[in-house]
Point group: C2
Chain length 344, copies 2
């Protein structure tokens, strides 16, 4: 049995769901992987709860869910302790980074990740900001320190985009990746198809059901898809691009007559993120745009808030993966998966 000590930075819905999984799946970790994951610090903006011997997870979650903060968790509370301090002081085997995605400067995720790599820790991240904005810096620092940065949870959560591209297709040349990577926009487009309604009406429906956020810009303008696409391309094609390398068009301009026109020729409109290798030894072209897919395309039947990714390869032909829970628990499960695969 190997004990893996874990620091969780960001103790919002994803961070707490991860802690809950570590507790509820302790038996799976032990029996199947001979791992014992121990939560040694949980950090949020106000401070941290710290215990080198392992925090009592159910009690910590009950404390936070009844309005408390990690920093006020009894004798373990450390008001004002920052993520970097927690990473550098008690130290741990792995950082699980779940602070909110910040697409302006990637903070505080970036400094957490760099501090953890500086300590020789493995990093598992659901936070997209630093990965998208500082991919090369983080990649190079990880290589220098001999550590891994595992980002499944930042690339469509429980949909196994990277594992499929890297493990399942090992040895094949990947020619392209096409994905429906954002559940909100797919839900809106699905409603526009099934109900023939306007974009605005479908968006309101999605907001009413809690599927779209109050400010849906990142989703509907295509940037969430673009960010995931960049990370997939960087990992699977060995690229090192950023959001600026993607041609991005969202779904706000899609009209009922566009939808009707697509349907009349047997197609369905999907917001597609596409990465294509441009010739042998060439670069990778990245684009996000609404595309009319033929009904026989494997992504055409992906409806509602479901996500999917389809790889085209030279030796295995097309391999498509779809599904995976879109929720904090789905993201937490992707974090746990990466942690396991990093240590087993």
């Amino acid at each position: 049995m190997r004990t893996v000590s874990v620091i969780v930075c960001g103790f919002g819905r994803v961070g707490r769901a991860f802690a809950d999984l570590v507790d509820s799946h302790a038996e799976v970790l032990a029996e199947r992987y001979e791992l014992h994951a121990q939560l040694v610090a949980a950090v949020d903006i106000g401070g941290a709860a710290v215990s080198p011997g392992g925090l009592p997870i159910p009690e910590l979650l009950a404390h936070v869910e009844s309005g408390g903060a990690p920093c006020s968790f009894g004798a373990h509370g450390r008001p004002g302790l920052s993520g970097v301090q927690a990473i550098e002081d008690p130290g741990a085997d792995v950082l699980v980074e779940t602070t909110p995605t910040n697409l302006d400067d990637g903070e505080p995720g970036r400094r957490h990740i760099l501090a953890a790599l500086g300590q020789g820790m493995e990093v598992v991240s659901a936070t997209k900001g630093p990965l998208v904005l500082y991919y090369r810096e983080i990649h190079d620092r990880a290589a220098e320190m001999g550590c891994g940065v595992h980002i499944s949870a930042a690339t469509a959560a429980a949909l196994p985009t990277l594992d499929v591209g890297r493990v399942c297709l090992a040895g094949a040349r990947v020619l392209s990746a096409e994905g429906i990577l954002n559940g909100t926009t797919n839900y809106i487009l699905t409603r526009m198809h099934t109900e023939g309604c306007e974009y605005g009406e479908a968006l309101e429906g999605a907001q009413a059901r809690g599927i779209a956020e109050t400010d849906p810009t990142l989703d509907v303008e295509g940037w969430d898809t673009a960010n995931k696409l960049v990370l997939i391309a960087n990992r699977v094609f060995g690229a090192s691009g950023g959001p600026g390398d993607v041609s991005v068009e969202g779904i706000t301009g899609v009209t009922p007559s566009d939808v009707a026109g697509a349907v009349s020729v047997g197609r369905v409109i999907k917001l597609l993120g596409t990465a294509k290798v441009a010739g042998k030894g060439g670069g990778v072209t990245l684009a996000v745009a609404p595309v009319g897919l033929e009904r026989s395309h494997p992504l055409a039947a992906v409806s509602g808030s479901e996500k999917a990714l389809s790889y085209l390869t030279d030796t295995m032909d097309r391999v498509t993966v779809m599904g995976g829970r879109s929720s904090p628990q789905g993201a937490a499960a992707a974090l746990l998966k990466d942690l396991i695969n990093a240590f087993v």
Copy 2:
């Protein structure tokens, strides 16, 4: 750069396609994985071609494709050398086992695999017979020797059934696996749906197109699906069953009126292999049967000779993978994938 020496047993279409891939994808192996795979022996029923320094693959393939055999390949030819002798004498890092599947006694694959494990070699197998019939013996021997037996190519070839179940879903409890695991029967059922024809007519169409074999028993009676299902259940659920543990019903009894009846209630008939965990701590129930799937089921749209597998889990919900080339090259690509993942 790490050199991995490889013995291929069985030099039929899959074995040759594998050798061809090792040659054509040498650059991918080197650049992406820092691996150099070296074919040190190719064995078929008449003997072997052997070269401890590595056989010249294009010349060997040209020799065999113009009617020669490995054992008559110039100075490298070793008439009468058996698979076990090749495995025990020159030795290698890995056995790639591609002899024809024998469901009576699993030979000669079984003795090849056991001989390789006895030498401490990794095993990569496309041959189902010994894996299905002697799963426990092979599993235990591999564990004893600290070697891996990698069987992606025996469980639906380029469709990544096991990688998804083991790597992509790591840490989740898999509750069930449902698969369309046989391309021939799915092709026949698809034709019965689209053309409303009898089973016999659809079978003849599949035979005319080279999709069904002259003796289609193994496919249409459900046993090919059952064999793949057993291997998936053993690997993903940690079971150790055999074909006798599967309730098997094929598609020969499916009639046009069954198809019409399913369609009239919005369903589509698929030959489904299903593995379900029976209660907490319980065993795994295995069944193969034609099932009327609702149109919204993720496997309902899998048509023609395509294959797919859908896992239901506790924390990631449903994850479905589909596609992958169904051909000797697809199986060879799965062999190469397993080889890479075993050594990287």
